[in-house]
Structures are given as C-alpha cells and as structure tokens.
C-alpha cells in the first residue's frame, strides 16, 4: 500500500519539474573536474603553470594536449568494457564482483592458446601447452576466452536466479574461484609471447575502438531491445516483472553471461595490449568498473542508469586518475581519493532518488 499512499490530490503535472537526462549532469561534472585540475595546475606552486588540458608547448597540431587525452581514454577503455557489462547487471538490481579476477583467469587461459612457436628464432620459453597450441588462428583464443566468460557468467546468473542467494555473495565466491583459477593455471608463472594476429587486438588505440564500439552496441541493446527493457523492468520491480510474464530467472542468467563475456573480452584486449598474461591481472577492476557505472548515474538499487552515463562515468574516472597524477598526488592518496569519490557518487544517487520520490 505504501506505493500508493503518497501523491494524492488531483492530476497535476508541471513540465518545468521534468529534469534534464542525468547524463547531462555527469557531462557538466566532467567539465567541472577538468576545470578544477586546470586551475590547480596554474595555482599550485610546484606545477610551474603547466596546463592540464591544453597544449602549451606546441607539441601538437590542435590546442589540446593530445597525449594526455589519449592516455586518459586508453586508460579507461579496458575497465570501461567491463563497466558496460556491469551497467546492465546493476540496472537489473544485481552486482558483479567477479569481473576483476575473471580478467586474470581469462587472460591466462587465452594467452595459452595465443602463443607463438618461435621468439626471435628460439623456442617460446613460456610455452604452456605442447606444440599443437602454437600459432593457432587468432579466432581460437578469442572464442575460448568468450566461452570461458560465458560459462562463469552462466554459473553466476544461475546461482543468483535459482538459489536466490544475494548477487554480492555469489559473485564474491566467484571472485575467489577465478583468482584461484588464474593462479593454478600455470602455478603463478606468467604466460607470454602471443602471435602477431593476437597482439593486433590490443595494439595502439584498439582498446578505445573496442570500448566505444561495444558501448554503441550495448546502448542499442539497452535502449531499443526487449533484453534492455526487461533488464530495467526487473531492476525496477522484480515482482511486477515476474507477474507480467517475464522469465526473470532466464533473463538474469543472460544478464550475467553478457557481463562476464565482456569482462573476458576486456581480458583478451588487455593481455593482447600487454603481450603477456599474469595471474594478478585485473586487481580492483571489478570495483573500478562498478565505480564508473555509479559515477555515471547507474543506481545501485536497480532500474536506473544508461550506457552513455557509464561511458561518461568512465571518462570522469579517467580524468580524475590522470588529474591526480598530473598534480603529482602519491598513488596511495589516489586510492583514498578514489574511494571517497565513489562514496560521494552513491550518496549523490541516494539524494537524487529521495528528491525524485518526494517530488511526485
């Protein structure tokens, strides 16, 4: 009954009360943060008047400091791919903590199928399998990686949908399992020396290309397809979704499968970019991905958020990280500041929702 008890008293509607889409606010926040770092660069005595955003040394054709912009987007692209998948998990009312370790495990497995036989004329010193696994077509490691991701996602989703345990617990368990797989795969030894074809997947600005490409695809899925609509419906009111005939359990499995497959793909791009895989890869990635989504306006209570929001959230994340480095803040303090920002984003989201509730 509580749902109907407020807002009684005639049919009123005020067009002015309609707020701009949340993404606009995040965009303004992004500009504000850039401006703050720009000002800090001018004000802080040890910065010698360096610019955060602009090309003051005439190194580039444009007025912007292209190198910095490039690094910012390159830095966030791989975690950003994970964040795109996590976005739909959070919108559906869940959470996925297993994506970081999944990156580690997938990278190890994928790299084992992507190794080349000869390194500078010598046999590959890091060979995992026998001769049969050398110089395989690039499609094989990619498919193996995506299948592994799909499997982990299917387990996550099935646990959450059919045993009704909280997503936090299910994916926390998977977090440990995946890190264990990553370490057990080669007893902690790194796996290196991929084929040229595999190395091309993450070369140069390729991660950015993948991130933005997948973002467009995921945006179309979330905004224009049945899958997206049902994801929002489940996160908004799971009982209503179930009563409306949506197969909630099957849908959840699909949501977690997509999230884990994107995390696996991020692992493919990352290991290709680094030309090596280590069992410790992807530490904190699950949290950073969740942070990007939350900064981008995805509500942890489910039902609200969008892919463009997450992309902007990823940019905010990248700008803050780059800005901290730019003002020469120590890495330890960066971690603390990042934590504070994530908490602030969640508090903001709560305030936003309470305001929305009291407005109706």
């Amino acid at each position: 009954m509580s749902e109907t008890s407020h807002g009684i008293g005639g049919l009123t509607y005020d067009r002015k009360k309609r707020s701009l889409p949340g993404e606009v606010n995040i965009f303004f926040a992004l500009i504000l943060i850039v401006a703050v770092f720009e000002v800090l660069g001018q004000v802080l005595p040890y910065m010698n008047g360096q610019s955060f955003l602009f090309d003051t040394q005439d190194r580039f054709d444009t007025i912007f400091n292209e190198a910095r912009l490039r690094i910012i987007i390159l830095q966030v692209s791989i975690i950003g791919i994970i964040a795109l998948g996590v976005t739909q998990v959070i919108i559906s009312g869940g959470i996925d903590l297993s994506s970081g370790p999944l990156v580690g495990a997938t990278a190890m497995i994928v790299m084992s199928f992507a190794q080349t036989e000869l390194v500078n004329g010598n046999p590959n010193p890091k060979a995992v399998f026998g001769e049969w696994a050398f110089d395989l077509p690039v499609l094989i490691p990619v498919v193996v990686g995506l299948l592994f991701g799909a499997m982990i996602g299917a387990i996550n989703g099935s646990l959450i949908a059919y045993t009704r345990i909280p997503p936090f617990i299910a994916t926390l368990g998977m977090f440990l399992i995946c890190r264990g797989i990553a370490q057990a795969w080669t007893r902690g030894q790194p796996v290196s020396f991929p084929t040229e074809g595999f190395a091309a997947l993450g070369k140069g600005m390729m991660p950015v290309f993948w991130f933005l490409g997948i973002a467009v695809l995921m945006h179309v899925i979330m905004r224009y397809t049945l899958h997206g609509k049902h994801t929002y419906a489940i996160g908004s009111n799971e009982d209503a979704a179930r009563m409306s005939g949506i197969n909630v359990n099957r849908h959840k499995v699909r949501v977690y499968m997509i999230a884990s497959m994107l995390a696996a793909f991020a692992a493919i791009v990352l290991s290709s970019k680094n030309l090596t895989a280590q069992s410790g890869m992807g530490i904190f990635y699950e949290l950073y991905a969740i942070a990007m989504a939350v900064i981008g306006g995805v509500s942890l209570t489910g039902g609200r958020g969008s892919i463009p929001g997450t992309v902007l959230g990823a940019m905010v994340f990248g700008v803050i990280q780059s800005g901290f480095t730019y003002i020469k803040l120590d890495a330890f303090y960066q971690l603390m500041a990042m934590g504070a920002i994530i908490i602030a984003a969640v508090v903001l989201d709560k305030v936003r929702q309470e305001r929305a509730a009291s407005r109706s």
């Binding site: 807002g7 009684i8 397809t225 049945l226 419906a233 009111n237 979704a241 039902g303 109706s360």
Partner: protein, 257 residues
Amino acid sequence: MADIILETQGLTKHYGGVHALNDANFKLEKGEHVAIMGDNGAGKSTFVRQITGVEQRTSGKVIFDGQEVNFAGPLDAREAGIETVFQTLALADALDVPDNLFLGREKTKWDWLGPFKFLDYKAMRADTLAALEKTGVKIPNIRNTIQNMSGGQRQCVAIARTASFHSKLTIMDEPTAALGVQETSQVENIIRTLKDQGEPLILVSHNMRQVMDLVDRIVVFRRGRIVANLRKEETDGQDIVAYITGAKTGAEFEGAA
C-alpha cells in the same frame, strides 16, 4: 441461463488452523459485475488469491470459462484470461506508461533477433493512447516515468493495463482504497467502461456508495464464509451492513456463519 465465466465449488483455504475461507460457492455470469464485501479478515482477499493462483487452495474446485482450472501461479491465471489489479501495484517505477502497459507482452520487430529483438515503440505508444482514450484515463504525458506520478495516476495506469488487453475476467482488489475523490471517480469511470464493453468484473471494495453505483450483484463474506448473495435492486446499504456485521444471514446460507 446465461453463460457462466467463473464458478467455485466448495472453495476452502486453511492457513494452519485458521480457516480463512470455508466452502465458498460462487458464480459469475459473462458480462456481470459483482462486488465482494465484508469486514477485514472476512476472507475477501483470500478468495481472490485462490482464484488467481497467488495461493494454492486447500480444497474445492475453480471452474473458469467452462473448464476446471488449477493455476500454479498468477501468471497462469493471466494467460488463461484473468487480469488482476492488486492492492499493491504491479508497476515498474522506472519505466513510462507504454512500457508498463506492455510489460511482458511488448510489441517487437525483427523477431529473428530472439531476446535482442527490437521494441516497436511507435506502435506501443499509439496503442497506449488508444487504450487510455478507450478507458477515459487522462495522463498528461505518457513518456513520464511512473515514479513521477500520483497514486491515482498509477492506479489508472494499472487498470488501463488490465482493461486494454481483452481479458475474460477482471478482478480488482480495493482499487480506490488509497485514492482521493477525483481519482476515485476516474477509476470508477473505467469500471463503467468495462461494464459497457461487457467485460465481467469482480470488485473487492469497502465503499458502499461505489458498490451500489457500479455493480449488479453483491456477495457478502463473513468469517470466511459467503453469507449473502444479493441483487442490487433487491437490497440497500443498511441491508448489506446487516449481513456484513452478522445481524442477518441470507436464507439460503442459514447455519453458514
């Protein structure tokens, strides 16, 4: 004799030792609007929950549209053609009006894409406007999300949703309990529209004026039993109150309460 859309025979529900519903024999004709009245705890909502499959009955039969049915859940009942507006609204707050009207039965295109088939927003918007017009519901902006709407608007959306899909039977459990005067009259207008369209309705209500205004027949529950079955023309408010409170018991139900 007119066609019977819904019949229950000896419908009984016990919660442990509590006999919430005992031996309810109920009939509803096609096109008929029946009100279910009774005090709190008289078994009204329990009765509805057994019919719609929200709960499983202890014993008795439910015959819907000529066939004995055993709904495993509310979804089964809905698929068979029973639409229910529950006391707690089954709406998704973060979605707008067309999304809610079509929740679970979206219009799509490019169906070969399976779960990723595209939504036909245009068709759903057009159908939403048609449905709202048909039921006389006024919503200023159907693109607004449900969370930004008043209680009455939400209830109207929930009812329009029910009314816009040609169901064989509509059940409303206290649809106006939490609404203001204006909103209540809007909901009542929708109910009249249903009547004009010949759609049968079971209305659970406490509101005597509303019941006398809207329905053909009144069934009174007391302490888990049906104690009266009254045609509207043959009764009045005082009479019904007497049945509800137990001052009177219908002749054919002697010894029931």
